[in-house]
């Protein structure tokens, strides 16, 4: 591939580009949320949109999440296609009623007669010392509740493609983007947060996991940062220990892609699930349960789970590092697993 053809985009620019393309394509698409206008979204998700589309289609809201997410629902019922931003997923509790009792249920309760083509995008993740109320992912909190598609892309390419799919989808989609994968200038600069992204509109399905790395010895399932950390651990395992880990990027939390998970476990016979959400009743539980239901006989070793150990996310660096899994811990878990 020629380098000249590469368009290296950060995660946030990939997202904003996706929204812009859809706003151009469909005049019903509009954006609303706190600081999505001039500020361009605290995590850059709407960067540049107000300049191109004006304040009528990129609306800064008061700090009234119940009202504006509820308004997005009302507008979607009228055929608009709102993209609403909940600034941090951690704030869900002030507006979860609108999200869950209404956005997620109205299509069902109406017997399919009311469609709600809307996207609720929200920033997730910790690792930069923003403490207990600004560092969560809450993946399972959303994925547990039916009626919403819940996706969490891990790369700029997927951020763009899945955002386009989400906006075009006639169902409510919760679109979780990871702060650390936005490629923002004021956070850690991660290689994973920049990559070549095609200029044109393209879609990535909202219900398919991706095998990010092929391997034969152990399956590691993760999403967003944990997927990237798993990739790091996998490289090291390969180099230092000759262990070939297969890494599955879940991408979509609901619906979850059981087939890809089961297929990988059947191939490797070992499963480690890694999560930046809380351990109990989380994504690691769901994936482990899928293994126990659908691949029990193939499992050569007990399933292992690595996640936030059921504590709120602490502020101080050593504490936060202790609770959020990193590549080291993943590496060690796999090593322990291979022994059993």
């Amino acid at each position: 591939m020629e380098t000249a053809k590469k368009r290296i985009l950060t995660g946030n620019k990939a997202m904003a580009e996706a929204i812009a393309l859809e706003m151009e394509r469909d005049s019903n698409v509009f954006v609303l949320g706190e600081d999505v206008g001039k500020y361009g979204g605290i995590f850059g998700s709407t960067q540049g949109l107000i300049d191109r589309f004006g304040a009528e289609r990129v609306l800064d809201t008061p700090i009234s999440e119940t009202a504006f997410i509820g308004a997005a629902i009302g507008a979607a019922a009228e055929g608009m296609r709102p993209v609403a931003e909940l600034m941090f997923v951690d704030f869900f509790g002030v507006c979860m009623d609108q999200i869950y009792n209404h956005m997620a249920k109205i299509p069902y309760m109406s017997g399919g007669n009311v469609k709600l083509p809307m996207v609720l995008m929200t920033a997730v993740g910790g690792g930069y010392n923003d403490a207990a109320q600004h560092s969560q992912t809450l993946y399972a909190t959303f994925a547990h509740l039916p009626g919403m598609k819940v996706v969490a892309p891990s790369t700029p390419y997927d951020l763009k493609g899945m955002m386009i799919s989400a906006i075009r989808d006639d169902n409510p989609v919760v679109f979780m983007f990871h702060k650390s994968l936005q490629g923002l200038g004021w956070m850690d600069q991660l290689d994973a947060s920049v990559e070549h992204v095609p200029e044109e509109a393209y879609t990535v399905p909202l219900n398919k996991a991706k095998v990010a790395r092929e391997g034969s010895d152990v399956t590691i399932v993760g999403i967003q940062m944990m997927m990237h950390y798993a990739m790091e651990a996998a490289e090291r395992l390969s180099k230092e220990d000759g262990i070939e880990a297969e890494v599955v990027d879940l991408r979509s939390l609901a619906p979850i892609d059981r087939d890809t998970i089961v297929k990988s476990i059947k191939k490797t016979s070992r499963l480690l699930v890694v999560d930046e959400d809380y351990l109990s009743y989380g994504m690691t539980a769901e994936v482990a349960a899928i293994a126990a239901e659908h691949a029990l006989d193939e499992l050569k070793a007990p399933v292992r789970r690595l996640a936030i150990p059921d504590v709120p996310i602490p502020y101080s660096d050593p504490l936060e590092n202790f609770v959020i899994p990193g590549p080291e811990r993943i590496y060690e878990e796999v090593k322990k697993m291979m022994r059993s």
């Binding site: 008061p62 009302g74 009228e78 608009m80 299509p107 309760m109 109406s110 399919g112």
Partner: protein, 336 residues
Amino acid sequence: MTQSNENQSSVSVEKLKWMYEQMVKIRYYEDQMVEVYTEGKKPVFNIGAGTVPGEMHLSTGQEPAAVGIGAHLKKEDTVTSPHRPHHHAIAKGVDLKRMTAEIFGKETGLGKGKGGHMHLFDPEVKFACSGIVAAGIPHAVGAAMAAKMKGKDWVAVAFIGEGAANAGAFHESLNLAALWNLPLIVVVEDNAYGISVPKKSSTSVDSNDKRADAYGIAGAYVKDNDPIAMYLAAEEAVSRARNGQGPTIIEIETYRYLGHFQGDPELYRDKAEVPGLRELDPIVKLKEKLIEKSTDEKELDEMEERAKQEVDEAYQFARDSNFPAPEAALEDVFTS
């Protein structure tokens, strides 16, 4: 501001008749529901049993709010309603057959039996309701936004009970609607109770129209459960909204003749209260007014008959319809 009696004579007889017929229809609909709801719940009341199981919140006595504003609405206007939705639905012209079938849990229902009495959605006439107190207000804000974005003169009306006016969603929605100058009308039906809690134990002001100033918008108060006063307040509010002059809060003093839901022991209110309220019945009063205005009594009888027949047909339709197949429960989570 409170509607004075002077303007009352300005309302056309046609409109009064429309309101009368709707009120009769609502009343008869709810009276039938009282009966149907007890089917299969005797001798022992069991909420989950009978022709119509689950909670049932009826609007008997609260007709004026619904018809006073309904008289000004067109199909394209949106109405959102709470857990007590039948009067609003009927006044908005919701398909009565499919609404009743929904309440009966039948496959011909508005939601194919998935929604039930608190979850009636008729996109044809832009009606929706919800079992979560105050949650419909933001949806009306959104409909109003959509109207504005599309350059239409459509309005959105959110009906709530007086209890709901103390929920956060009320405040957030009104601030937003005021800020964006949206065609929203919030109608607060003060039926004196939120379940068992009297208004004075839930609300720090006498009436919620007084909260309009907190958003720099218009407020109106309608007393005595008066449909004509409601009509006039609504007329102003709707024209304000249609003309881009922003939201209004209307509070109406209304009466809840029945329990909060059917089966409510109502130990929290005086046994004499309801009979007293029933003596002030707005349907009786409106009929007197129409006769006063020399409406033919026969015409009124015909209207009543027509209304009842429509209701009877709706109930019959619901009875005759089939239940959905159990596996249909798995459909409609997502549209494809």
